[in-house]
């Protein structure tokens, strides 16, 4: 509990945190507004209004990576491990605080996007609609899982620039490569494995049968990626000198 409090104090007192949280909301809602404005007829309203998540997740990754890598950069990590020698406790505390922050910022970003989308989209849409609610709640969870994935990767990689490079590479590269795979079976397989494509399947509200993976299953794939990254992070923290 004290570890949690310590992590919260660290995050709270770094001036960058507030800007990053604001960035998540502004960028997510901003891109969402552009996409909603450009939606062609027959498009998925929730998916276009929430398209900003593709951009907002990058800021979430920065926030999460900074929580871990920032300490390695300044050498603060030695102090942290002296104060709390149980390294997994430190990782758990960092993960919880980052996840909670990302969830809060994500919720604000998604709610803003939904409100903006409601105003811009012809016909509008609302959270009272089951699939829209699933898309919105799923997007918040998506951003939270991205934060956990980033914490895990940062614990392994340590350097901030490299960790963010790995996370964004993992997220952004798979859809680009998938677009060139001509075999539909292979393409579907890659889409099911890709953390971004699978995870964002939760945003679909129409043509669910044409999605590569079901909405909750897709989010499950991302959860597996996040769990794997956290496990790898925990293992390296245990085995390696700070």
């Amino acid at each position: 509990m004290t570890a949690l409090h310590a992590e919260w104090t660290k995050v709270r007192t770094v001036p960058g945190t507030a800007w990053l949280l604001l960035g998540v909301v502004a960028l997510t809602a901003g891109l969402g507004a552009l996409a909603a404005n450009a939606m062609p007829t027959g498009g998925d309203p929730a998916k276009s209004a929430l398209m900003g998540v593709a951009l907002g997740q990058a800021v979430v990754a920065v926030l999460a990576v900074a929580a871990v890598s920032g300490e390695y950069g300044t050498g603060m990590i030695h102090t942290t491990f002296t104060a709390v020698p149980r390294r997994l406790t430190v990782l758990a505390a960092k993960g919880s605080v980052t996840a909670a922050l990302s969830m809060t910022a994500g919720a604000a970003a998604v709610l803003t996007s939904v409100a903006v989308g409601d105003a811009l989209l012809p016909g509008g849409f609302s959270l009272a609609d089951g699939p829209v609610l699933r898309a919105a709640a799923g997007s918040v969870l998506y951003l939270t899982l991205i934060a956990l994935l980033s914490v895990g990767v940062a614990a392994v990689v340590r350097d901030a620039a490299a960790a963010v490079g790995v996370v964004l590479g993992l997220l952004y590269l798979t859809p680009i490569v998938t677009s060139l795979v001509a075999d539909p079976e292979w393409s579907a397989r890659l889409q099911k494995l890709s953390p971004m494509t699978a995870g964002l399947a939760v945003q679909a509200t129409i043509n669910l049968d044409q999605q590569p993976i079901g909405p909750w299953q897709g989010l499950g794939v991302l959860a597996l990626w996040a769990a794997a990254a956290l496990l790898a992070g925990a293992a390296t923290l245990r085995l390696r000198d700070a």
């Binding site: 552009l34 951009l55 900074a66 901030a160 620039a161 963010v164 677009s179 795979v181 001509a182 044409q210």
Partner: protein, 480 residues
């Protein structure tokens, strides 16, 4: 300045992680590039049960994949001569349905030709060897094609008396050629864009028109013969002759094949999809090259050694830009042959690229890496934070490409994104060409960027230049 560059080079060279990161970018580019074709196998089959893999389209005289299917009413012309005909306009036809007179090396598909034609909605044109197109007047009327050796001259006239020359071209034709009248009508395509992607619907069409007052000059064989060039189509093609008036129905198209998303054709740039992975590695190293100096406080030593801060930034840009250029060129030069080899083995066909274009794509990839790295150095100087810098640069260069090309944005926003963001620079890798005489979708998804190769690259350069200027000003004003 020289000693500064040397100092920065020493810094770069002696940090193992940076050198490894830059070197790793090369196999990363190749391996990710190989993933595309490696994950492609064909389970589809053609009309006779044969696999559709390895089927290559016919090629024109210069190797371009082409469509060459039309209804041909022809006689053999030996030596010089000409053909003149009055063609009725094509009513209710596809915009690029064609009817006119043609001189072709033979009836085999892909052979050299020149033709003067009226079209469904694009006026009179003179076209030759599939890729070339000369526009003529809007109104149709009389068409004439004359041959003198290997020189072909096309002309048109509204009334059969006042003639306008459309063009004169040199073609490699034999002594004996097939010449006469033709009609073609391409596939009707309706594109519908949704957020799930693009769906195309349509089907084959035919066009019918009449040719009158057909006169020939020179040594022609006696009988008009009808041939479906490109093989029997099962469509209702054919011709009838009545008092010197020919009514001809044809389908198909005489045109280059345009690369489109999901086709079995592969271009040079599709072999370079791994560039995104290599680029991310290069951007991470370029960022660390600056931000780690701030983090470790080395920047104070650097500034003490050389108080001119702008020079330090310039030296860093030169070193990291130079290294990134080499990495980009080597990555592209290795990825293109290796990926293309696998693509051919998997049954794709390759769009031929001139040596000059290939050099432009390879050097262009190097330039793209270099300028992107300089952008990262400048943004890193401004932000002084590794994570923020890498994110800003990746989000600026890779995310717009992802949204425009590999994602689901409709064409309008996709073209905007690939014109105004740093992702515009990927135009420098575009090898495919737009043909005004072929209706096709020329969108970023299909590999067509809104800006020219140089123009797109200039957009990235502009971003980098602005970032360098702002970073220099900030560095001068700010304490280290």
């Amino acid at each position: 300045m020289k000693h500064l560059i040397h100092a920065e080079w020493t810094k770069f060279r002696t940090v193992r992680g940076w050198v490894v990161g830059m070197v790793v970018a090369i196999p990363l580019t190749v391996l990710i590039g190989l993933l595309g074709p490696a994950g492609s196998s064909f389970s589809c089959s053609g009309p006779n049960g044969q696999s559709c893999a390895g089927q290559t389209p016919p090629r024109g005289p210069d190797g371009t994949p082409v469509m060459d299917a039309f209804y041909f009413v022809h006689r053999t012309l030996t030596g010089d001569g000409s053909i003149t005909a009055r063609v009725a306009s094509l009513e209710d036809a596809e915009p690029w349905a064609k009817a006119g007179v043609i001189v072709k090396r033979g009836t085999e598909v892909g052979s050299s030709y020149a033709a003067v034609m009226t079209t469904g909605a694009n006026g009179v044109r003179m076209q030759y060897d599939f890729t070339e197109d000369l526009a003529g007047p809007r109104e149709t009327g009389w068409l004439r094609l004359s041959r003198k050796g290997n020189t072909l001259t096309g002309a048109t006239s509204p009334d059969g008396r006042r003639w306008t020359t459309l063009g004169t071209v040199q073609l490699a034709l034999g002594e004996r050629v097939e010449a006469g009248m033709f009609v073609s009508s391409p596939q009707h395509v309706e594109r519908e864009e949704t957020f799930g992607g693009i769906s195309e619907q349509g089907g084959p069409t035919t066009a019918t028109t009449t040719f009158g007052d057909v006169t020939t000059d020179g040594d022609w064989s006696t009988r008009w013969q009808g041939t479906e060039v490109g093989g029997a189509s099962g469509m209702d093609n054919g011709f009838t002759e009545n008092d010197g008036e020919f009514t001809i129905t044809g389908h198909g198209d005489i045109a280059p094949i345009v690369q489109s998303a999901g086709s079995l054709g592969r271009t040079v740039e599709s072999a370079l999809i791994g560039v995104f992975a290599g680029l991310i590695a290069v951007l991470v190293v370029a960022t660390m090259f600056v931000t780690s100096e701030h983090r470790r406080g080395l920047i104070r030593t650097s500034f003490a050694a050389n108080p001119r801060r702008g020079q330090l930034l310039a030296a860093k840009a030169v070193v990291i830009g130079g290294v990134s250029f080499v990495v980009g060129v080597v990555s592209a030069a290795l990825a293109i042959p290796l990926v293309e080899q696998l693509e051919v083995a998997k049954g794709f066909y390759l769009f031929p690229t001139s040596a000059w274009t290939e050099v432009r794509v390879i050097v262009g990839t190097g330039l793209l890496f270099a300028v992107a790295a300089v952008l990262a150095v400048a943004v890193g100087t401004l932000l002084r934070r590794g994570a923020g810098t890498v994110t800003a640069v990746i989000v600026g260069i890779v995310l717009p490409y992802l949204l425009a090309v590999a994602s689901v944005l409709p064409t309008g926003p996709a073209e905007l994104l690939t014109a105004i963001t740093p992702a515009a620079a990927f135009a420098i890798q575009q090898s495919v060409r737009e043909y005004p005489q072929v209706s096709a979708s020329y969108t970023p998804v299909d590999g067509f960027f809104p800006l020219s190769p140089a123009g797109g690259f200039a957009v990235l350069c502009a971003y980098a230049a602005v970032a360098v200027v702002v970073a220099t000003l900030a560095m001068r004003k700010r304490d280290a």
